[in-house]
C-alpha cells in the first residue's frame, strides 16, 4: 500500500494536470460536462461558473474539478427544503439575469474579473440565497476528495494524537476535526 503522503502527492499531480489554468479567460458559453438533476440547463451553467468563481482552481483544484456543481445540484434536489431549493434556483436565475443586464452576456460567458465583481456584490448584500449557495459550494469543495486531500489534509486513520505540532509540519488545515 502506498503510504498516505505518497498517495496525496500523486493525486496532486493528477489534479493539477486536469484543471484549467487559473488565469484562463472564459469567453463563450461553455458546454456543461455534467447533466443536472434538479436544475435547468441554464441554471446549471450558471452554477458551474459561480462555484468556480467562489473556489477557483489555483495551485490546487477548483470547485469544477472537484465536482462541486454536481454536489450543489444534488443538494438542491435531495437535501434542501423546497423553499430553500426554490430560492437557490431563483438566485441562480437572478445572477444570470443581472449579468445579462450589466454586460449583455450570460454569467458563464463573462470574463473572470466580471464574474468576481458580480459575486462580490452579492457577498456584500448578504442575501439569504447567496449565503446558502456560498456555504454549499464551500462545503462541497472542502468535503470533496480533492478539496479534503489536496487543498486540505486528510488522514482517515491518524493512529496517534500529538497535541503540540508546528503548523509547518502539517502544512494545511485538517479536513476533519
Amino acid at each position: 500500500m502506498l503510504n498516505r503522503r505518497e498517495a496525496a502527492l500523486s493525486f496532486g499531480a493528477l489534479w493539477t494536470a486536469l484543471v484549467v489554468p487559473a488565469g484562463a479567460l472564459a469567453q463563450t458559453t461553455p458546454t456543461l460536462a455534467w447533466t443536472p438533476k434538479a436544475l435547468s440547463a441554464d441554471q446549471a451553467r450558471t452554477l458551474d461558473a459561480v462555484a468556480e468563481t467562489i473556489i477557483p482552481a489555483t495551485s490546487t483544484p477548483g470547485a469544477r474539478a472537484a465536482g462541486v456543481p454536481q454536489f450543489v445540484d444534488r443538494a438542491i434536489g435531495t437535501w434542501c427544503t423546497p423553499a430553500d431549493a426554490g430560492a437557490l434556483k431563483a438566485g441562480l436565475d437572478q445572477i444570470d439575469a443581472d449579468a445579462k443586464a450589466a454586460s449583455g452576456a450570460s454569467f458563464a460567458a463573462l470574463a473572470q474579473a466580471q464574474q468576481q465583481a458580480l459575486l462580490a456584490r452579492y457577498d456584500g448584500e448578504g442575501k439569504a440565497f447567496w449565503r446558502q449557495l456560498k456555504e454549499l459550494v464551500t462545503t462541497g469543495y472542502f468535503t470533496s476528495e480533492p478539496g479534503a486531500t489536496i487543498a486540505l489534509r486528510y488522514d482517515p486513520v491518524p493512529g496517534d494524537y500529538r497535541g503540540c505540532v508546528p503548523l509547518k509540519e502539517i502544512g494545511r488545515g485538517w479536513a476533519t476535526s
Partner: protein, 574 residues
C-alpha cells in the same frame, strides 16, 4: 400436553435473565455468564454485530449522501422530532443507532428530551465515553443535607468494583489525587494541546482550580485481556458515534458481550420487548418475564432464577409500572411509590467560549476523541469553596482547537480559498455538567390511554429543574468566563443556551437505592426490597446524581450486584 408444556417451559428457562444489552445489560451478562450462569439477554431492538454492523465507520467526507452527513429537515422532522433536540446526535452516520420518535411516542407535560437507541449495545455505542468515579462527597451528600434518601453504600463499598470495571473496559486518564474525583486504574492519558497546557498552567496558578485531561474509556495501552477480546488501541479518528472498527472505545458490542459469548453461557435474543415481570405469589418472587416479539407480534414467557433489569432508567421503570398483580397493584416492587419518581439528569448547555490570541504556528495531529476536564471546585466541604446560592456542584468539559474551513470569511475567490485551506484562530470552550437534586415530583407516569404501535402504554413526563439548579447555572456561566479571562483569552462570551431535562442523556433515579423499603425501591446490593431475585443496576438505581458522567458507576454497581446475586443464589436465597 403437559409434557409439551413442560418441555417448552424448560427450553425457555435460564439461570439468569438480563433485560437490555446496553452499558449495564452487557456488563451483567459478562459477570453472570463468567460465573457459570446460563444467561438470556433480551434486547428490544435489532441485532448489532461488532464491526460488521457499523455501516458508516469508514465513510469518507466525500462519500456522504448529504452535505456533511446532515439529514434533510423533512426527514428529521418526520422521524427525529425529539432526537434532533441534541443538535448533534442524529446524522447520516448515526441515525441507525437512534430511535425514530414517530414510532416511539411519549407525552411531555413539561419538555423532556428522551434520547435513545433500540438495538444490541444500546447507548454504549453512542455514549460520550467520559468515565469518572463518584466520591464520598456524592455518597454522603443526601444524608448530610437531608435531601432525598441516604445512599445505602459509601465509596469504600464501590471502590474495588470501580477498579475491576476500569481494568476491564480500559480508561485513559491522569491521576490527580483529588478527594472529590477519586483516581482509578488508568491507561496512559491523552495529551493536551499547546493551548490547553497554557490554560491549565494559568488557571491552576491564578484560580487554584485543577485542570486535567478527560478520563475516557478509550484504550491507549491495551492489556492482554483487551487484545484477546479483539480490541485495539485508539486510532484518534474521532468517529466514535459510528461504532469503532478497532474496538478501541468501550461498548457492549466490542467488549462485554464478546466476553460473555466466549463463556458459552450466553444467549442473546434481539427484537424482544419485555413488557412485564411475572410475579409468582407462591414462591414470592419473580418467575420470569413476558416478552412481545417485535417482529412476529407473538407473546411469550421466559423464566429465570435471577433477573437483572438493565433497560435504562426510564424503560426499567416502565416495565415495573406495567407489571401489576394482586401483590403489586401499583407496579412491581412499588409499595414505596418511588418507582418513576426522583428523575435526575445532568443539566448542561451553559458555559463560555473565547478566542485565543497567538499560537498561529502551532497545530495538532490526530483527532482526539476527548477533551479537558475541570473537576468540581464548589461546595467541597471547606469554607473557601462553599456557596450560599446553591448546594452540590458541577464540572466542566471542554478544550481548545483551531477553527476549520467552515469558518465565515467574506468574499469569493483565490484569497478566501487559500485562507480556508489553512487553520483558523484557536478557540477555547467550556461546558458545565451540573448535579440535579432528586425531587419526588419529577416523575414519569404510565399512560394507559395512549398506546404505542405495539398496543403498549406510553410514558408521560413531568420533570423540571428548580431553584438550586438555576442558581448553579448562573455560577457555571460566570466561573467558565472567569477562567477563560484568567488565561488571557479574548472575546469571551458566557451563556446559557437553555436546558430541558433529558438533554444530558443521563437519566437516573426512577427506582432508587436506599436503606428503608418505605422510601426506596432497591437495597444496598441493587436488589428490590420487595422481590429479592430482581436486581436493577441501570440509572434507575441512582440515589443522587453527582455531577460526573454516570456510566462507570452503573457498571460498578452492576458488577457488584452480579457477584451478590451469584452468592445469594448459591446460598439458596433467591
Amino acid at each position: 400436553m403437559a409434557n409439551l408444556n413442560n418441555r417448552a417451559r424448560a427450553e425457555n428457562t435460564y439461570d439468569a435473565i438480563v433485560v437490555g444489552s446496553g452499558i449495564t445489560g452487557g456488563y451483567a451478562a459478562k459477570e453472570l455468564t463468567e460465573k457459570g450462569l446460563k444467561t438470556l439477554v433480551l434486547e428490544r431492538g435489532r441485532m448489532v454485530r461488532h464491526i460488521e454492523d457499523y455501516p458508516t465507520a469508514q465513510t469518507n467526507p466525500w462519500e456522504t449522501k448529504y452535505p456533511r452527513g446532515k439529514l434533510p429537515k423533512a426527514e428529521m422532522d418526520a422521524h427525529y422530532k425529539v432526537q434532533q433536540r441534541t443538535g448533534y446526535a442524529v446524522t447520516e452516520f448515526s441515525q441507525h443507532f437512534f430511535v425514530k420518535d414517530d414510532e416511539n411516542p411519549y407525552a411531555e407535560t413539561k419538555s423532556f428530551d428522551w434520547i435513545r437507541g433500540h438495538h444490541v449495545g444500546g447507548r454504549s455505542i453512542t455514549w460520550g465515553r467520559q468515565t469518572y468515579r463518584h466520591s464520598d462527597l456524592d455518597f454522603e451528600a443526601n444524608a448530610k443535607q437531608g435531601v432525598g434518601v441516604d445512599w445505602p453504600i459509601r465509596y469504600a463499598d464501590l471502590a474495588p468494583w470501580y477498579d475491576k470495571v476500569e481494568r476491564f473496559i480500559g480508561v485513559s486518564g491522569q491521576k490527580e489525587g483529588l478527594s472529590q474525583l477519586p483516581d482509578g486504574v488508568f491507561q496512559p492519558p491523552m495529551e493536551m494541546n499547546c493551548v490547553e497546557k497554557a490554560f491549565k498552567a494559568s488557571v491552576e496558578e491564578k484560580l487554584s482550580r485543577r485542570i486535567t485531561i478527560g478520563r475516557a474509556a478509550h484504550l491507549t495501552a491495551p492489556t492482554e485481556e483487551q487484545l484477546a477480546l479483539g480490541r485495539g488501541k485508539c486510532q484518534h479518528r474521532n468517529l466514535c458515534v459510528r461504532g469503532c472498527p478497532f474496538g478501541a472505545y468501550f461498548s457492549s458490542n466490542a467488549a462485554t458481550l464478546v466476553a460473555a459469548e466466549r463463556t458459552g453461557n450466553l444467549k442473546i435474543r434481539p427484537n424482544s420487548i419485555v413488557t412485564e415481570l411475572i410475579f409468582d405469589p407462591k414462591a414470592n418472587k419473580a418467575s420470569g418475564v413476558r416478552v412481545l416479539d417485535e417482529q412476529t407480534g407473538e407473546t411469550m414467557e421466559f423464566y429465570g432464577g435471577v433477573i437483572f433489569l438493565c433497560a435504562s432508567a426510564l424503560s426499567s421503570a416502565w416495565i415495573l409500572m406495567n407489571s401489576t398483580s394482586r401483590r403489586f397493584p401499583n407496579g412491581f416492587g412499588n409499595e414505596s411509590d418511588q418507582v418513576g419518581r426522583n428523575i435526575m439528569d445532568h443539566h448542561l448547555g451553559v458555559g463560555a467560549v473565547g478566542e485565543v490570541p497567538g499560537y498561529e504556528d502551532m497545530y495538532y495531529s490526530g483527532r482526539r476523541p476527548n477533551g479537558i476536564y475541570i473537576p468540581r471546585f464548589r461546595n467541597l466541604g471547606d469554607a473557601a469553596s462553599a456557596r450560599k446560592d446553591f448546594i452540590r456542584g458541577y464540572g466542566y468539559q471542554g478544550g481548545a482547537g483551531r477553527m476549520g474551513w467552515d469558518r465565515p470569511i467574506a468574499g469569493v475567490g483565490a484569497e478566501r480559498k487559500a485562507a480556508l485551506s489553512q487553520p483558523g484562530p484557536w478557540m477555547f470552550r467550556l461546558g458545565g455538567f451540573g448535579e440535579i437534586l432528586p425531587y419526588a415530583d419529577n416523575r414519569i407516569t404510565l399512560n394507559k390511554a395512549a398506546k404505542d404501535k405495539y398496543g403498549l402504554p406510553t410514558l408521560t413526563f413531568d420533570v423540571s429543574i428548580r431553584e438550586n439548579e438555576k442558581a448553579m447555572r448562573k455560577d457555571m456561566a460566570a466561573a467558565a468566563a472567569e477562567m477563560l479571562e484568567a488565561a488571557g483569552f479574548k472575546k469571551v462570551i458566557a451563556g446559557d443556551q437553555g436546558y430541558s431535562p433529558g438533554l444530558g442523556i443521563h437519566e437516573m433515579g426512577t427506582a432508587r437505592m436506599g436503606r428503608d423499603p418505605k422510601t426506596s425501591v432497591l437495597n444496598a446490593h441493587n436488589q428490590m426490597h420487595e422481590c429479592r431475585n430482581v436486581y436493577i443496576t441501570d440509572g434507575a438505581a441512582m440515589t443522587s446524581a453527582s455531577c460526573v458522567n454516570p456510566s462507570l458507576t452503573y457498571m460498578a454497581l452492576t458488577a457488584r450486584a452480579a457477584a451478590h446475586a451469584v452468592e445469594a443464589k448459591k446460598r439458596g436465597e433467591l
